[in-house]
Amino acid sequence: MYQYDEFDSRLVKERAEQFRRQVQRRLNGELTEDQFKPLRLMNGLYLQLHAYMLRVNVPYGVLSSRQMRKLADIARRYDRGYGHFTTRQNIQYNWIQLEQVPDLLNELADVEMHAIQSSGNCIRNVTSDQYAGVAADEIEDPRIWCEIIRQWSTLHPEFSYLPRKFKIAVTGSPNDRAAVQVHDIGLRMHRNAAGEPGFEVIVGGGQGRTPHIGKTIREWLEPEHLLSYLEAILRVYNLDGRRDNMFKARIKILVHQIGTDKFRQLVEAEWAAIRDSELQLPQAEIDRIAAHFAPRDYPQRNDAGDLLAEQASQNAAFGAWLKANVAEHKTPGYAIANISLKSLTAPPGDITAEQMDVAADLADEYSYGEIRVNHRQNLVLPDVAQEQLFELWEKLAANGLGTANIGHVSDIIACPGLDYCSLANARSIPIAQEINARFQEMDRVHEIGKVSINVSGCMNACGHHHVGNIGILGVDKKGKEFYQFTLGGSSGRDAALGERTGRGFPAAEAVDAVENILNTYVELRAADEDFLETYRRVGMQPFQEALYGTA
């Protein structure tokens, strides 16, 4: 993975010290809250319902075991012993004390981490495929391009005061595990007619109160022009994006209002002026970054399919985990192991300091010391020998990390909701936990099969409800929590926004509604159809009848 150079290290250290002085001035009364708030937000520090919340970047979801141990250490010493992984591959701490933040940031800097640009109207942490570098279907490792974007976008002087926040996601596979079509810019690598790898450039996707699937403004971009093209997009947005109304300030509104063709023309015109500037990436620089992500020198191993099949037949729980949580690796004899952070006992994405340490230890023992965070709030060990999967699973299970539900009904995305968030209108976590409790019988979970349930506690949609196969949006209705449902959403290659079922349900009926929807699907599905396929075939009507009756 990428190692900080001298410039990176100095930058994060200096920022921590700068913030130390700002905090001191605030505590001394030299700065008012109005003066201080923008400064703390530039360092990822929010004030939430109960306390300050610190959002720490995990660049494109990649963590070393050393970094994970530091995150555990911080959870123990500065917080209440846990953290929360988000849908943007970051980690949030919920109980951070202002006066301790400078020391905390200094410790993060020691392990090449920080909270810069995790808030505010700037380019946020670039996100990616959690299987980057190991996916069997990958064309090129997207981390190379993510790191190039990270360096370009960090403290970029021209883009430090955009109309609104800006999120970029990159996938190096034609398939999409990074939800690139619902980002401000999505980059999808594919090959052109000549077989050369390049990026499809998708702009103006997003969720929130005005959801849009992104529009392709360029079918194929030579990678060496990536930064000049991104810069051209950002310039058009920075100049023409609305600043009069924060709810209409995201790039998706601009693209929608002026139209894709007009937006493309503006970008191409800007790009023509800068494409051959110093932003053109020299091959030597691409190679320098790529060297940090060079493929591992894997010891040769044979495919262990027979052994795994035998272990699975002897141990049904392992078999279920193998089927749900293990993905194909590009290298024979290896596998990608997903660690579910969706258990019965904790909110989605929450992880205790002890579990962080376990994940770090297991990464060292089984996966070259590397861990990934995915946008569905789970962890990944990317490089596990197939023949070691069983002992890895035993250790995960012994630490509450062995839940066999990746991509299934209880693998729910949920924002923190009204349990923590000052923007929320309703709670998300209890809904997720009640669904999890209702569907804890693993045979039933696997009988239902692949389905994504995404829960947001307000229309800002941090829980990605618009792109859940089943989306759940919490709203406040005359002082009570109600939950509205959408069906048919997807964040994959076939991205789609869900369609509203109709009136919402009070909290006590929400999980019954989920069960009702799933029972309807199971009744209607053809052989091997997953939820989304059935929904796309039969449409909304049978689900509405099940939820509301035919009257």
């Binding site: 009364g29 319902l49 109960h50 306390a51 006066e99 002082g479 009570k480």
Partner: protein, 96 residues
Amino acid sequence: MAQILIANSLAHGFVVFLTAENNWSGDIRQAAVAADDAAAAALLEAAQAAEAGDQVIDPYLVEVTVNGAGPEPIEYREYIRAFGPGVPPPSRQNSS
């Protein structure tokens, strides 16, 4: 309607309540309860002074009922603020 004064402490960020002794406590049972609007206005004035003095952030009044266990916010958002995440708000929440 009875009211209490809620805020976040500046240095820690944790939720605090204004007490009858004009101090700040993290325990809602210590909160001064204003029985009428005049008493509530006095709480707000004291809290705004504390805000100006950089002790607390974002102080405001919250309507409560008072029972044997002490004051309980009526709005469920404020209830969750007072009692923390994972604490189910009152049962009326769960009925349609």
